[in-house]
């Protein structure tokens, strides 16, 4: 005996949302796969990038006139600082390593690991 339509309003609502989602996604994907969409969206992005480039270049000239550092200058300084910090940490690690080795031999427990002896479970008959 065939079951009648569900009386649960929540189930009907869920089905409706699911269908709506599928339909909108399918329609949007169809439109976004067109040359027009690709051309239009990229034109908009290129315009925004051109404005950003123009602003950055104009601002850099302005800041240089005022004898102030630009964002690029600060970023470059930050990069150099980071490189120096990384170099210092490597030196610190190299200096600390022998001391750490000594303390380990003095009895500091090394974290133990389980043995690598595990075998896969036998296949079911």
């Amino acid at each position: 005996m065939a079951e009648g339509p569900s009386k649960d309003p929540s189930a009907a609502w869920r089905e409706l949302v699911s269908q709506w989602e599928k339909n909108i996604n399918a329609l949007a994907n169809q439109n976004m796969a067109s040359d027009e969409f690709s051309s239009g969206s990229n034109q908009a992005m290129n315009l925004a990038l051109r404005i950003q480039q123009g602003m950055a270049s104009g601002m850099a000239t302005y800041l240089a006139t005022l004898n102030l550092p630009s964002r690029a200058d600060i970023t470059a300084l930050g990069e150099r600082l980071q490189a120096m910090e990384a170099y210092l940490s490597r030196i610190a690690v190299a200096l600390e390593e022998p001391a750490r080795g000594k303390s380990r031999t003095r009895g500091a427990p090394k974290r133990s690991r389980p043995p690598r002896t595990k075998q896969p479970p036998a296949p079911l008959p």
Binding site: E21, L49, Q53, R116, P120
Partner: protein, 363 residues
Amino acid sequence: MSATLGEAPKLQSSIAEQVQSEIERAIRRNIKGLEYVASPAPAVGMTPKDVIYKRGTLNLYHYLPMADEIYRVPILIVMATSNRGYILDLAPGQSFVEFLLRSGYDVYLIDWSPPSPDERRLRFEDYTLDFIPECVRRVRKDSGVKDLTLMGYCMGGVLSVIYVALHPKTQPKNLVCFTTPIDFRAMELFAKWSDRRYFEVDRLVDTTGNVPAELIFTGFEMLRPASRLAGQVTLWENLGNDEFVKSYRMFERWSNDTLPLAGEYFRQTVKDLLWENSLYKGELTIGGKRADLRNITAPILHVVAEHDHIVPHAAARPLIEQVGSAEKEEIMLKGGHISLVAGANAQRRLWPRLDAWLGVRSI
């Protein structure tokens, strides 16, 4: 006729009960809704681990074993460059990493931080000839085992296969890929949006340095523009279900946590992979060497998702077709790009299948 008359009060009472139940649900939903807004996001990525190596954008974790004995061969997971690795370690009981640990694997993971401005120059060469080889070396040293299983998710899979193709003499013991695209022309919408006639990738990278996370996030969102709103409607309906809400929030947090991409790496992805489709054609050259997939001879498992809207099967299928491995297998499982590896679907489908394939190859 008398039966019909008798059913009328029953029908009325049933409708009244339904209305009452809906009102109660609505009230509960509103209370839970307030809790949702007021409570912090659930903690993720909590499985205990050591950071055994860190260099700029690169983090190499070693998860603390959870079994009394472990398989001889450790696993090194390479996460996708556009997203955080905690999708593989969501919460206790829902964590892929925890599952692997409890099943007796020794797990290492390469996770990515947002690249700093000076890392905008990172290229495929850095990822596949420096980062991954260095991590492989460190895993071998840390575990004391020469063999390892290399496991990559999405672009992490692409980097893994390029790495193996470029180092044919030091094959991993096993190679496992999840939803790894090879034929980038088959990712139709991405290919269309980055059409070389309209998409000025040089201008983008030269202007922004690293490609902003918002742009990457929008690209993923546009593949299914209605899904976010539909997800929120479903959340509203399930606000009374604590487990659903927790899971929703974890996935929501992860998908919003998209990473920026290193500028040069993005430029190469667009020009070499999307425009020239060079990995598929066997023409991708990295550091003067050709990344030929036929160089891959390790046993390989590729798991793909039936409803993957980011990496459709047509884009992923050529991996198994092209590798030179004698032992190779592709498994298609129900689910999407993310639900393949995380959540209830993954727990039920992927994790046990993977364990069955990998366990016997990890001794």
